[in-house]
Symmetry: C2
Subunit: 201 residues, 2 copies
């Protein structure tokens, strides 16, 4: 998705060989028009498959699940990272280890909102180690729902996430696929020249 | 907002005299069309004020900040609940005690995304004790930004949140204002008869 790669070039900050910061437009401050465009692209990629529900994980997947839900005209569900007082009923759960935070937490989804009648599109902001997405795929299967596939906004293709999902038989679409990063430089899959972007400030 | 009150009557679950669960359509599973309508209503209430940015707090404010951002054609920013590896720069911070979780956390917003040139609309899913919203108002003022007001989807009017915000001189709009709840019964401000809704199952 060219408009997305352009924004990553213009505004992305590489903090290390594995950490790309895009919080000026994707996951802290959010460009609503770009988020809607991302949703339309997911809608186009997964059109005509009878998707009933978009699934993501709090917090930074929510804006893209909402945008995909708008495009596909279906509700979305976001998995929660721990139990709250208002979540006493039966839940589907899976353990997830966060790449950026370095901690393991439980993700959970109410059994009321996912079941055998659903066909699910999972979306998230990043595909890196794949931990969160593997957790969501596991939950979709436990619920007996069908999985149309996984849509990610940015994929760090040099990490193991895509491989893990494909081994599980999951179709993966990423809108910007990074093949390598180094301070000041990001290279996308299918682009031959490394593109210089801003170093950490 | 009648469509919202109707959904609360149809699908809301009262877990106690202070806890209303709306996670079938607002903050776990999300009805995207209703969320967009909520955004349009915030857009109508705060039209013509030169708002540059919508502000909320992760996670359950995000869908409504996105919807308001779509309606007002501006970006939104969501405050984070703790520091991550990718947030090393200078932050505005405020302590917030969660009503539903019973714990205190730090909310933070990058100084890059809020400043004296901004006119801000704060939105959130619930107004109850007002703790999260008071924290966001404090941050907006620390940033030197102007505050257009606060928009809440559901207000528990029998708790102290509105009073705290109004004492700070903040304009508050809620789309559904609950005056009292008891198991099986919710009463909205400006409605004379208690409306029966489902008890906890």
């Amino acid at each position: 998705m060219k408009v997305l790669e352009d924004r990553i070039r213009q505004e992305g900050l590489i903090l290390s060989e594995t950490v790309l910061k895009v919080d000026s437009f994707l996951n802290h401050q959010v460009d609503t028009e770009l988020a809607l465009e991302i949703g339309r692209e997911f809608g186009r990629l997964f059109a005509g498959q009878g998707i009933t529900k978009v699934l993501t994980i709090e917090a930074s997947g929510i804006q893209f699940a909402m945008a995909a839900g708008i495009a596909l005209k279906v509700p979305f569900v976001y998995a929660k990272k721990k139990k709250a007082v208002t979540q006493a009923e039966q839940m589907y759960t899976a353990p997830v280890t966060s790449f950026t935070r370095g901690e393991t937490y439980q993700v959970s989804i109410s059994r009321h909102y996912l079941g055998p009648d659903d066909k699910v599109l999972i979306v998230d902001d990043f595909l890196a180690t794949g931990a969160a997405l593997v957790g969501l795929v596991t939950i979709v299967r436990e619920a007996g729902a069908q999985l149309a596939g996984v849509g990610c906004v940015i994929e760090k293709g040099f990490q193991e996430g895509r491989g893990l999902l494909e081994e599980m038989g999951v179709r993966v679409h990423s809108l910007a696929r990074i093949s390598s990063m180094a301070p000041g430089e990001v290279q996308f899959v299918d682009h031959n020249d490394p593109i210089r972007i801003k170093e950490k400030v």
